[in-house]
């Protein structure tokens, strides 16, 4: 399955993977990031229910210092 994460394409071997799992695999915590799938913001409560589809475009964002 091919998805676009933060603007770059990635191949995901798993047939079934939830957003929850994806974030966890990357060592990220819900406290720390906000996730957008196909321009839809997904509240972290829903991450377990969301399974990635081929061609999904995902943004994983967090806060940094800025002026």
């Amino acid at each position: 399955m091919k998805v676009r994460i933060n603007g770059s394409d990635e191949i995901i071997s798993e047939k079934l993977i939830t957003l929850q799992q994806l974030i966890k695999d990357r060592g990220l915590s819900p406290k720390q990031v906000v996730v957008e799938v196909n321009l839809q913001i997904i509240p972290w409560e829903q991450w377990p229910q969301i399974t990635l589809q081929d061609k999904d475009s995902i943004e994983i964002i967090s806060f940094v210092g800025g002026g």
């Binding site: 990220l28 720390q32 990031v33 906000v34 943004e59 964002i61 806060f63 940094v64 210092g65 800025g66």
Partner: protein, 259 residues
């Protein structure tokens, strides 16, 4: 000066120095600075994150009582700015947004038209909107009319530390616009901030000058004092200047026998 506190979007802000969080060597240093400056408001940005290297969240280092404003830096269009604002709110960062839409890579000057579009949209969605803009009365008036919480003209290019190079236009905005005017970007020295406040700005936003200082904590404290000084002078009424001299001491009839 209790009674002078600034109220924006129903929030009472006790210090008119706003401090950005960019470029600090560490979250700890940034926190010390915000405390030393007693910053009334701070800004934070968003960025893509790929792995959990840096586990701690910058928001956890913002002192309570320092209002957080998310800036849309990175946005090149109104749509991108709107999208960032929504992400920020969804992430629980609240609804205070500094709109920063930049299309110019060398001077990082804001795009006033896209900024106006983003402001119109976000105000309608219930955000408290602080547009960063290039000083222009006609655009400032539209921003205020469509509900911007404040208008934030630049003093000089971001990070240039050149001071208030747009004084003439900002002074006109202060006189003509009802919304608070907050000078953002380019202020390098406490005296620059003092001048802005003496003119009647509601606040100033400083980041680079403090973050890259040899002593960020002291430099921030200096800015904070200068902002208070300038505000107090504004409220007291500035002394007007004259061309010639006016004696401050008795000059007549002393020791000159001819007198």
């Amino acid at each position: 000066m209790k009674e002078d506190s600034l109220e924006i979007g129903g929030v009472k802000i006790n210090c008119r120095l706003f401090v950005g969080t960019g470029k600090f060597p560490s979250h700890q240093m940034m926190q010390e600075v915000l405390l030393a400056a007693e910053a009334g408001v701070t800004t934070v940005a968003l960025r893509r994150v790929d792995s959990g290297a840096k586990a701690d969240n910058i928001l956890d280092y913002i002192p309570s009582g320092c209002k957080v404003m998310i800036n849309t830096s990175g946005a090149r269009t109104a749509d991108e700015a709107v999208r960032i604002a929504r992400l920020a709110r969804a992430a629980g960062a609240g609804n205070w947004i500094k709109i920063e839409v930049i299309a110019d890579n060398r001077y990082l000057l804001p795009d006033n038209l896209e900024t106006l579009k983003a402001t119109e949209t976000l105000v309608k969605e219930g955000f408290v909107v602080f547009p960063y803009m290039s000083p222009d009365l006609s655009v400032a008036r539209r921003l205020a009319e469509c509900g911007a919480a404040a208008v934030m003209p630049l003093g000089a290019p971001i990070g240039s530390n050149r001071g208030l190079k747009t004084k003439e236009l900002v002074a006109i905005m202060i006189r003509e616009i009802k919304a608070p005017i907050i000078v953002d970007a380019g202020l390098g020295k406490p005296s620059d901030a003092c001048v802005c406040m003496e003119m009647g700005c509601a606040a100033v936003l400083v980041n680079t000058a403090i973050a890259v200082s040899r002593n960020p904590v002291d430099y921030a404290r200096a800015f904070s004092q200068a902002v208070q000084a300038g505000r107090l002078a504004y409220l007291s009424g500035l002394a007007e200047s004259v061309d010639e001299a006016r004696a401050s001491s008795p000059l007549t009839g002393f020791l000159h026998n001819e007198d």
